[in-house]
Symmetry: none
Subunit: 250 residues, 2 copies
């Protein structure tokens, strides 16, 4: 299946980029592969003449870029978000390589007609654990373990290349062709987590003063499941039924 | 076959690069993928502080770079040379994409134990016909036909990534295997579902007389997540905290 139009439903999100040159390089990398939607979360410098110079003929991607204050905002309305991370983290054991991630992003984009996101962290510090928690799945580029430090523009180039190949039909035959049930949006999932957290605080299971790693663990669990819209409704219905018992008891 | 040592027999050759920043970006891109041998044919500026800055932690690749006067010299001793070219030319009828080119380069490197080369032309003018003629086969990166203008560093990153994947013996399974958390056993999962069912019956959410498709739906949701042993413990702890509220209320 050749569906380059699906590339138009992909957001590239840069969280807190420090160097305007990298923003320009990212715009150029995106456009060479047919992507257009750039979202910038609290960029250190933007707009900036250095970004424009490095974007070369891709200035239109910069002009169309959306600047927002939080990753939450950048992911609002998306149905799937892949997070690029070089580091090993205890909580991110399921982890895709770029090819598998591109196949999955394209599958979600095609089957749901919804927007999907590819999220990159700050050049020096990467994505925070909190930011990672907002994304569906981590992606790691296989790299030299002694020097895994890809430049931001280069990492975006590589991911966009894999997305273009996936959109061109590479590997598409291997994917299930059935229509997926309607996925929950980012906002619906976040509202569910808020509800879950407040319910288990009310029940006494979670002590807000000593949160341990409880919510991140639950996020990881439900993240793997990729919740559907109707499932969110069921889970919140269950929570409400528990809330009623807990509230009247206390 | 996993043979990362073959990456040590690959030369990256830049012919007449104009911008020292690009030379630095190329060094960095190479090192992230485990390549080390950079050859520069008549660079406009080298060595150069801009190249060093952009190389970041890959200064060793710049220090080891060989500077020569002609592509002939840079290819001396190689057994195979792939030439990157964006443009269509009458003379380049057979043309590989990056993945096929990487497979072929690795095959030559493995089977002959000889050195192979990946050749990139000048940023603005690309490779001349004469230079192309010195190479074994042209390679074209699939790109947006309206804007196929990849940055030199980005193109090198992408080719070196494909070479690393080819050396690792192919994509998806090739990420370093991490220890997976201990999965829940079948019985633990079944006990969790029993607990869940009795809790939502007690809370009034599930009417045993009219079960609808509720438990099958919840089984499907948690089945997709492939629960871990510790997660079962957390989920049952949460259910118990709700049970206490519900029980005392009723």
């Amino acid at each position: 299946m050749n569906d380059l139009s699906a590339l138009g439903r992909i957001r590239v999100v840069l969280s807190r980029p420090s160097h305007p040159g990298n923003i320009g390089a990212v715009a150029r990398a995106m456009k060479t592969m047919g992507l257009a939607h750039l979202w910038l979360v609290s960029p250190a410098f933007f707009p900036d003449p250095v970004a424009e110079a490095r974007a070369s003929g891709a200035g239109d991607v910069l002009v169309g870029a959306r600047v927002v204050d939080s990753l939450q905002e950048a992911l609002s309305g998306t149905v799937f978000a892949a997070a690029l991370t070089a580091r090993r983290r205890d909580l991110s054991l399921a982890r895709l390589d770029p090819r598998a991630a591109a196949a999955e992003l394209m599958q979600w984009s095609r089957n749901t007609r919804g927007e999907v996101a590819l999220v990159f962290g700050n050049e020096a510090s990467g994505l925070s654990n909190e930011e990672l928690g907002l994304c569906t799945l981590p992606v790691t580029i296989p790299a030299n373990p002694d020097y895994p430090s890809l430049n931001l523009g280069a990492a975006v180039q590589l991911m966009c290349y894999e997305l273009r190949l996936a959109a061109m039909g590479e590997g598409a035959d291997a994917l299930p062709s059935e229509t997926l049930p309607e996925p929950a949006t980012h906002d619906e999932v976040e509202n569910f987590f808020e509800h879950l957290e407040s319910s288990i605080v009310a029940s006494g299971f979670l002590d807000p003063a000593k949160p341990r790693r409880l919510m991140p663990r639950l996020r990881r669990l439900f993240g793997r499941a990729r919740l559907e819209k109707e499932e969110i409704a069921i889970l919140r219905g269950i929570l409400s039924s528990f809330d009623a018992g807990v509230k009247n008891y206390r």
